[in-house]
Subunit: 442 residues, 2 copies
């Protein structure tokens, strides 16, 4: 697809009616809504959450949309800024590997705030989110690896376009106004990877969400912008190092299949690079093949790329545990719930049993293994061996995924609250956006 | 200067006390304040001004800062967004050629709104503006031509850093907090040249100003960000195509001389590419060397580069007149005030006397002439000839410039209002930021 065809394609996507949305992607969007609300609530007491709430509270304004973790209600743009930032505080939200970004934290805050402002339904929130998320996937894939390597954070850059589409749908913009909104957000979308490890990373998500509300609101009022600003010469794509092969790389530009459907949900509160190992170990455990006391050696085969990221041999803090293959493997063997934030505490580093187990784990770099995969080989003291591979990109049954997300929710916000949210997000008929938003408040 | 030294340099600059500010630059900042207020008021009824006011009015919020052209008072961030956008509506504000950006429209809105919020003085506004503007010049020069050619609009990108410094000074941030604010705005600064010719261009200025307030406000509350985000690997500079020779190019990194002092003020409401010709013709006229009725031929020598920009031979609308050397030359010869917006009306295109005069003007491309210059040669019907060159970068006596800006102000907002503003901005002792801001309201 030439760059000039990208804007019409995205406009066509944004105008799809609810009946045409692929059902697998729609179901995944509901699961993402549940998961996003869980991680939002779980992150609501982080220091950055308090600061961003203070900021929007001090500005005040019309009470249109709820702010997570408070009784505050503020203008939609401010709510999107705060809620996006808060929901990414734990970095425990969903990830889309095809464009290397977090769709929910940039798009749900915009969709929910705009829906509250318009009095829309919970189903409308999910539809608007899904179209925004799918646009974000496609735009992010066009931006591609060059964009990421140059230093941009796709959650924020691609995400701002998705947030705009979601907000524009809820504000009922026609095609011309949506086109202006996308032109306007082209000049506003920003965000750097160099923020990783600071409050600036979650802020990127909030800024993307707020950009979406701002662009859609202004376009609704008749503000114009260059539609050339999105693709073409000196456009957002060109200026922001879009991969030259970006649009050519995408095999299927139809609307029958949504790329969003392959979104990944974090099920463990640690570095994503360790998740394939954890899943493989959990499968071995569930199969009754290993008990911690019987283990002689565990070999974890992963791509060498991750060895610079999450291979701390003797973690000293709870945060370091999140980046330690050997310690995380020991914790799985010990049946510690890695979905729960509390599991990652400094004292665990001094647990002599875990330390001894961790010493039996060997990490092996293997170029033949994908970023998203791991192979685990276990030898027991009796000489028996077993092995298991896992790839995070393997399709997962939505029902199984749902149960695991529910368990994660219970670990993060308590069983009762998780089940309450679960019931609501799995039965959106008759639920308003305000009903949903009220669950984020306290 | 290596990139790693840039952030400390900018922090040192931002911490300069008022007594150390170079007086020529300080005087120029006062003139820019007057000029910025004039063009703000003159642009306050443009359609985009009404839309951006509607937007911030609908959000509401605490009444901290004035919105141009209304009785509205809103949070500082919203006022900065609206006022920056409104003040660039006419594209009649000051330009800094060394970094190719408009300093006042991005930085004054942030400085004024933050000063109102803090109850600061008019003098504080000018000091904060000047330090922000000087930082913007230096950062913009480091970004350089590569950044501009890639499609970025320095008014918005460099401008956001200056707006942050101005706001941070008024919010009384310490060095660590300022450092965080600059890290945060690194992830927010954005803006594309492809918006030129749409409401998106003025919006870029407003967004830069709002980014400054946002970053400084959050940093004041303890929000952190990566300070590596400004310079270094995968920083703002690297990701946004900073000229590799950028910092090396700057001969004088001392604080004794401010680059801002060479800012240019637009004295005519037409394309900047025509201004050197207009000045040269005005000099010839003032010298008594030409009267319209006596002219046989006018030859306008300019760089060929401008011939693609502002050489419309037979303009059909007032807007096209702004890009027509031949018609503008005829209007100067006819003593029409080119500072006044009303002079550029569609009916003027049908004025047979002007049309006949315009036919006598020849535009000649000459590679030896700088972008900022023109040479005009006039032959009268009696055979007498005279010529005059002009370069917009030639130093201009501040007193002369002041009188011309006052005349421009009178043409745009009326004599009484211009003199009232003139008196206030030339005597800032005892004037509060709120006094200044109230002059933008009506």
């Amino acid at each position: 697809m030439p760059d000039s065809a990208l804007l019409p394609h995205i406009l066509d996507l944004a105008e799809m009616g609810p009946a045409r949305l692929p059902q697998d992607a729609r179901k995944m969007a509901e699961l993402s809504l549940f998961d996003w609300m869980v991680v939002s609530l779980a992150g609501a007491d982080q220091p950055l959450a308090r600061i961003i709430r203070d900021f929007v509270a001090a500005e005040g304004g019309v009470a249109k949309a709820a702010v997570t973790g408070s009784k505050l209600r503020v203008p939609a743009r401010a709510a999107a800024l705060a809620n996006g930032t808060i929901s990414h505080a734990l970095d425990y939200d969903d990830t889309h590997f095809a464009y290397i970004g977090h769709p929910s934290v940039a798009i749900f805050p915009a969709a929910l705030a705009a829906a509250e402002e318009m009095g829309a339904s919970g189903g409308d929130v999910v539809d608007a989110f899904l179209l925004g998320a799918e646009a974000t996937c496609r735009i992010g894939m066009v931006l591609g690896r060059d964009h990421y390597d140059a230093g941009f954070h796709q959650t924020a850059t691609s995400g701002a376009f998705g947030a705009t589409i979601a907000a524009a749908r809820l504000y009922q913009l026609d095609r011309d106004a949506l086109s202006a909104a996308l032109g306007l957000v082209s000049t506003r979308a920003s965000g750097l990877k160099s923020q990783f490890g600071t409050m600036g990373k979650p802020f990127n998500a909030g800024a993307a969400a707020a950009n979406g509300i701002e662009a859609a609101s202004l376009a609704k009022r008749g503000f114009t912008a260059s539609t050339d600003a999105f693709a073409g010469a000196q456009s957002f794509l060109a200026a922001h190092h879009a991969d030259n092969a970006g649009s050519g790389k995408i095999a299927d530009w139809s609307f029958d299949k949504f790329f969003f459907a392959s979104v990944s949900h974090k099920l463990h509160a640690c570095c994503h690079g360790t998740h394939a190992m954890i899943e493989a170990l959990l499968l071995l455990q569930a199969g009754g093949k290993i008990a911690a006391d019987d283990v002689d050696e565990v070999r974890v085969n992963i791509t060498p790329r991750w060895q610079n990221v999450c291979d701390i041999k003797t973690p000293q803090t709870g945060l370091e545990i999140k980046f330690s293959y050997v310690f995380l493997a020991a914790m799985v063997l010990q049946n510690i719930n890695l979905a729960a934030y509390e599991s990652y505490h400094d004292a665990a580093c001094k647990d002599t049993y875990l330390m001894a187990l961790a010493e039996r784990v060997k990490v092996v770099g293997d170029d033949s293994i994908a970023d998203s995969a791991a192979r685990v080989e276990v030898r027991l003291k009796d000489g028996k061996t077993s092995s298991q591979s896992f790839d995070l990109l393997s399709p997962i049954d939505p029902a199984v995924l749902g149960q695991r997300l529910l368990a994660k929710g219970a670990a993060l916000i308590g069983t009762a609250a998780a089940h309450d949210l679960w019931a609501m997000t799995n039965n959106l008929g008759g639920v308003s956006a305000s009903d949903l938003a009220s669950k984020l408040q306290r």
